[in-house]
Amino acid sequence: MNPFTYVRPTSEQEALAALAEPGATALAGGTTLVDLMRLEVMRPAKIVDINGLPLTKIETGASSIKLGALASNTDVAYHPDVVAKLPALADALRSGASGQIRNMASVSGNLLQRTRCSYFRDNVSPCNKRAPGSGCAALEGFTRMHAVVGTSRDCIAAHPSDMCVALAALDAVVHLKSRAGERTVKLVEFHTVPDDHPNVESVIQPGELVTAIEIPTTPVAAKSRYVKVRDRASYAFALASAAVALDVQGGTIKDARVALGGVGTKPWREPAVETALVGKPATPETFADAAKLALAKADPRPDNAFKVELARRVIARALSLVAGGSK
């Protein structure tokens, strides 16, 4: 691990000032950052430990739940209001990582976690994300864990988060703060596709801090599920996962949300599937037909072509589960 300086601010003002310095990186749970620093994939000159900031609260409002940036994955996953009003989010968080990592990891760190692409992590292979312009070893490499949608000629690394898939489906909003002020960004617009700049993964700017993630507690969100398929029963990243939400009234679908994980270079919302569901009867046939519209623009590699069909079946299964539970 490269040497770095360490500060632990106790106010947002101090933290924002420290983060504005060149080479400064915020440390929350450390489960991504410390790992990648030990691999020397990340070499920040300065660590701003933000755990002294009062950002761990989970607040239930009249129409939303606001997660403090430093709320742990465990605390959110088992919070009674999250379980009751945003079940897909609770499911997604519980399906991610291990008990120890969920205790450490914050929701803002989960939002900003880096890809598990082995060529990015090995610190040796050509990788446009780690070393812009060096090439992409994955394009000719082993791609079982890579993305099939949102890819580019320069990068096919999958976004690894489960939580973000649920947040994408549930219309979450990210609250950001810098010395210049505050702003909010929709979760679905927070992460960016690689294009010709895979080193940029989100719209967050240097010196900006995620302060909270807010999720509307709509009726449709209360009828949501997260289904994840992986290579082993637990403690593995998704091959394909789906967060879905359905509002079914009198057997007819009134509202729907569908997002995919494990297949995209960012959490992948599927508006075409949602449109196809609304107004139809909530039946397995409807779900299967609508799911076929997912990943229309997929561009898989030979190793991960199976993900397209797998993701569609995961959507259909998740919809069936949530419809069964909502009747």
Partner: protein, 314 residues
Amino acid sequence: MLAFARDWSPPRATAIEVRALRSHLRGLGAELVIVGAHQAWRLRPDDDLFALGELAARELHRHHGTKGEDAVLVLDPAGEVVFEHRQALVDHSTLLAGLTAATEAMLSSAPMLFTRRGFVSTCVVSGFATVVLAACHQKEHHDPDPAPAVAPTPAPIELDVVLDVNGVKRPLRIEPRVSLLDALRERLNLPGTKKGCDMGQCGACTVHIDGKRVLSCLTLAAAAQGKPITTIEGLAGPGQGDLHPVQKAFIAHDGMQCGFCTPGQIMSAAAVIKENRATTDDELREEMSGNICRCGAYPNILAAIKAARGGQAG
């Protein structure tokens, strides 16, 4: 350990020689301070050679009264010399031999006083107590210039931290990049917490911070200040005797084979029981999935956890 070696200096030491010293230190888990005629260097197993300065060299010579003679000293945590080996350390091989002799003498002469682990930690905890071997080859090679030919590495910035481990406040001076795992094992004489993968994937390093199970390899020691830390050494609480009920259950149910993952398994299991979220066997397996056992002792681990949870550990 301190090594006084008049004829040693970085410009003269080859990369292979430094690597050999590092490997020796890694085996011991020790630091070495090499004191030359005009300069002192600190060598840690995983760091670059770090120049301590001429003042440090002078002070070390003065403090230990070496009068320019070569020697290997081992210091205890209070900085007292517990072993002294006087021998001319004229080149790399005699330096290594001096270190080895000091190590062997320590281990063989005081078996009742020092375990290997005790010896190692004595060396480590004492901070500047590491072998000091310095002494410039310059003299030997008639080089009048005492200045090192290689620019010294920039000083790593160290922090004074206090870790609250198993109910005891432990002050430490460490670099911010030191993990909690390394601080526990290498500085605080708590080697029960194991280093498996060192990348957050195996669970062998599981400890409790604030009562919650976390991975000490992905925790910076500096960031763990101010919160109670519990390791396997401190898991058994008051009134539980030497062993926590989960430890007893692991013994009773033979929940291990080689034992390397066991401290992590036990720390995780104790937390899982306290969390009380898992009821079925499958849920227990899911909760324990962050602890990998290469021997495959999982069935017995599960049996031990269920027994401990049911209070049948006895």
